[in-house]
């Protein structure tokens, strides 16, 4: 009895070993935290986005490495003269992972699902301009807008197309996603791993090259690093400079880097003193030395940045255009005097619990204290920080925010009066006018002119002192080919990677 049990255990072991060789092309990824769910219409956090975006699900459009909008499930599209009607021609021969064909009805169902109250999607505001979605025929979809929306095509890249059968289903996709992407969902061990396998019926012939992706959830940074150097993991996606520098030059490890879309910032509450006074906000900018922050907190891997990431080459202004970015504590003191506030100005700074942000907050505290402020740091737990942020319960906060490929996606909701993430309570008639105008324009030159003016005004007297844009790294085994790190942290390039 015992011997036979032993024998079957041993043979099972051999079988497992054999299976391991057969699936040797499953890419082992070391991720720092696991997703809270996999429903693409419900998730917003990076750990979920990373697994789902471009791997399991696709949108009508996609964002490429240079942050340009490219066709994805829509092969092509046309926009009406007034910018209010978009007609999408769908790619033919696309199927979902459950075998059903992807057609116009699925696109319409996905849009409706996103906008429905029952699903309560936090992404709904990205389609707030959409009035209706209609299937013209099986391969053609028409979106009618209430008003022109210049960022629509870029926003659509993050709106996953799900099967029509899921339109009213609230729970199924959180556990078992069904998309059209190059990899399909196989297994999820909470706190362990998420396993995706190759979608054999993927519409782009010859892709994906890998037979699967395994996202191992490894919370400890030192452990991930060892896992990469000893070959247990082949990719550590989207890591910070400190980790990248430690891995630099290790045998069998190579690094890829790009300019991050995400930015570090100091947010100011303009609904109460002292930051209700634009001169005080300008003084903060003069007090801060951004080069020093890049050197000390980002280990030199980053650049000082304004309201838009330098990765947005066609939009961002050079920081030289912003006068207040010249570090000048004396000027800051003079501005505080002009503002008529009692110095030193006592304020609190709430800090997002991430090591890089804690480092940055300490440097900012030091710099501001030398320029007429008296800053008290408040280190908070994540949940508490988010709650205070949402309730505008702060003088100042230090944080890291994800950036967006189109300026409208960031500016409108953040700086427009009453915008959904305008926690600063900022309200400025000129900015509102410019943002409204740029949103309804489709002419690139006119939009650019409007956003130039917005950036200039926001940089010095806006409610946010933008600090830095870091260099975003990925570390990988040098046998991994064809993968590159993207500014928006998407891992969609894994479809063409091989190992």
């Amino acid at each position: 009895m015992f011997r036979s049990a032993l024998r079957s255990t041993v043979s099972a072991g051999i079988m497992v070993a054999a299976m391991a060789t057969a699936s040797a092309q499953v890419l082992e990824i070391g991720a720092d935290s696991g997703p809270t769910g996999l429903d693409p219409h419900l998730i917003t956090a990076f750990p979920s986005f990373m697994v789902v975006n471009g791997n399991i699900y696709e949108g009508l459009t996609a964002i490429d490495k240079d942050l340009k909008v490219i066709p994805s499930l829509a092969e092509s599209w046309t926009v009406s003269e007034d910018g209010k009607t978009y007609t999408f021609k769908l790619r033919s021969g696309v199927t979902f992972h459950d075998g059903s064909p992807m057609e116009a009805a699925d696109v319409v169902a996905s849009v409706k699902r996103l906008l429905s109250k029952d699903i309560a999607s936090p992404l709904a505001s990205r389609l707030s301009a959409v009035e209706s979605a209609n299937a013209i025929d099986a391969q053609t979809v028409e979106l009618k807008l209430k008003e022109a929306s210049a960022a629509l095509l870029s926003s659509l890249a993050t709106i996953a197309i799900v099967p029509r059968s899921m339109e009213a289903n609230k729970d199924a996709l959180q556990k078992a996603p069904v998309g059209t992407g190059p990899f399909k969902f196989q297994e999820w061990q909470p706190n362990g791993y998420i396993l995706l396998t190759k979608n054999e019926a993927y519409w782009e012939k010859g892709l994906p090259k890998l037979s699967g992706l395994k996202f191992n959830i490894v919370p400890e940074s030192a452990t991930r690093q060892v896992g990469l150097t000893n070959g247990q993991y082949a990719l550590l996606p989207n890591i910070d400079a400190a980790t990248a520098l430690q891995l630099k030059g290790k045998p069998n490890v190579k690094l890829a880097e790009t300019m991050d879309l995400a930015y570090t910032l100091i947010g100011m509450n303009v609904s109460k003193p002292p930051f209700d006074n634009p001169k005080v906000r300008e003084a903060v900018n003069y007090a801060i030395n951004r080069e020093e922050i890049v050197e000390a907190a980002l280990f030199g891997a980053g650049v000082p940045g304004g309201p838009l990431s330098p990765a947005l080459k066609s939009w961002a202004l050079d920081v030289k255009e912003f006068g207040c970015y010249a570090h000048d504590p004396a000027k800051a003191q003079a501005l505080l005097k002009e503002a008529g506030v009692a110095t030193p100005v006592s304020v609190t700074l709430k800090v997002l619990p991430r090591q890089d942000i804690k480092d940055i907050a300490q440097i900012v505290q030091e710099q501001m204290n030398k320029a007429g402020f008296k800053v008290e740091l408040i280190n908070q737990e994540q949940g508490q920080f988010i709650q205070d942020w949402r309730n505008s319960n702060f003088d100042m906060f230090a944080s890291l925010n994800a950036g967006q490929p189109d300026p409208d996606e960031y500016f409108y909701r953040t700086f427009r009066t009453g915008g959904s993430t305008n926690v600063y309570k900022y309200s400025d008639a000129e900015i509102d006018g410019l943002l409204d105008k740029a949103r309804s324009q489709t002419d690139q030159a006119q939009r650019k002119a409007a956003y130039d003016a917005v950036q200039k005004k926001l940089a010095c007297t806006g409610p946010v002192a933008h600090l830095t844009y870091g260099t975003l790294f990925s570390a990988m085994n040098d046998k991994l080919k064809g993968y590159d790190v993207m500014p928006n942290r998407s891992l969609m390039m894994l479809r063409s990677a091989s190992y």
């Binding site: 072991g13 917003t44 060892v226």
Partner: protein, 315 residues
């Protein structure tokens, strides 16, 4: 005997009821809102959508309703579903329970079992160089933080034996060898402080026992030294040892958060930590109840062991 059992069972029910109320209130006292945390910082969302999301997961109801609803289904054996994934909480706990049970078993096996001979040896060699060395070792074992030890062991192993897969977890049923291979280092990291603690305890209890009159009598009878130490002295020294093992087992069953983080093991510690961070109320609630029940049950088993070891308790 039956009366002891019954009394313990009543204890268990009372403790679980008390804990369920305390946990329920406490986790709701922590600032931070489950919906806001799920969405993360800087998500574009209107207050109306937030309210809809709250309704979706039932957090819009009054707190008393929420408790009664939860307690009602928990009594029927239904612990509800995880807030956002919709997975049954019972399944979620079961998945994370196995690695924790295994880790508890292995680290006790290494730590507690070794502690007895090591402690006896230290007592017998009292005062000489070997005793001093072992005592210094024990203090080191107590003071070295397990996360540091874990990372150092991973680093050393990856330098010496790069192909030895030491990270993550595979179930024993899938790959017994790979499972033991991955459990080795975390078990050592957890076992070392246990070994240090318990061997010191055994040492002092043994020294105490060895000074007693009955030991002198046993020696005077001409019993061999081994029999004196292991049969007469040890049995009496075991009571405080068992108490400590019981408490340690209770803690280990609650999950070893730090070691689980370092070695990427999906155990109860990480389940609770993650659940608290995302304010996953149903999951926190049930997991803590399971851990509490584990603690009470282990204590009960220790009480039974007392009876086995010490006939006086039986009376």
């Amino acid at each position: 005997m039956n009366r002891v059992l019954l009394a313990r069972l009543i204890d268990l029910v009372l403790v679980l009821f008390g804990v369920s109320i305390i946990v329920f209130l406490m986790i709701r006292l922590i600032p931070g809102d489950a919906v806001a945390i799920m969405l993360g910082a800087n998500t574009e969302i209107t207050p109306e959508r937030m309210a809809e999301l709250n309704r979706r997961v039932g957090l819009d109801r009054p707190i008393i309703d929420q408790y009664l609803l939860w307690a009602g289904s928990a009594l029927r054996g239904d612990f509800g579903t995880s807030l956002w994934t919709g997975r049954p909480v019972a399944t979620e706990i079961l998945i994370h329970l196995w690695p924790t049970l295994e880790l508890t078993f292995l680290s006790l096996l290494l730590g507690a079992v070794l502690a007895v001979p090591v402690g006896c040896l230290m007592a017998q060699m009292r005062g000489n160089a070997a005793d001093v060395t072992m005592r210094i070792g024990a203090i080191a074992g107590l003071t070295i933080p397990s996360f540091w030890l874990g990372i150092v062991m991973i680093l050393l192993l990856s330098a010496w034996a790069p192909s030895f897969a030491s990270l993550g977890y595979v179930p024993f049923s899938e790959d017994p060898l790979g499972n033991l291979q991955r459990m080795l280092l975390p078990s050592i990291a957890l076992a070392l402080p246990i070994l240090a603690n318990l061997s010191r305890l055994v040492r002092s209890a043994m020294l105490d026992a060895l000074g007693q009159d009955y030991i002198r009598t046993a020696r005077a009878k001409g019993l061999p030294e081994r029999s004196v130490v292991y049969k007469h002295a040890l049995r009496n020294a075991l009571i405080p040892f068992l108490t400590s093992v019981g408490i340690m087992t209770g803690y280990l069953l609650g999950g070893a958060i730090v070691v689980e983080q370092v070695f990427a093991i999906p155990g109860l510690g990480r389940l609770i930590l993650g659940a608290i961070a995302e304010r996953n109320y149903p999951l926190i609630q049930a997991t803590i109840l399971v851990v509490t029940a584990g603690f009470v049950i282990v204590n009960f088993l220790v009480d039974l062991l007392y009876i086995l070891v010490d006939p006086r308790v039986r009376a």
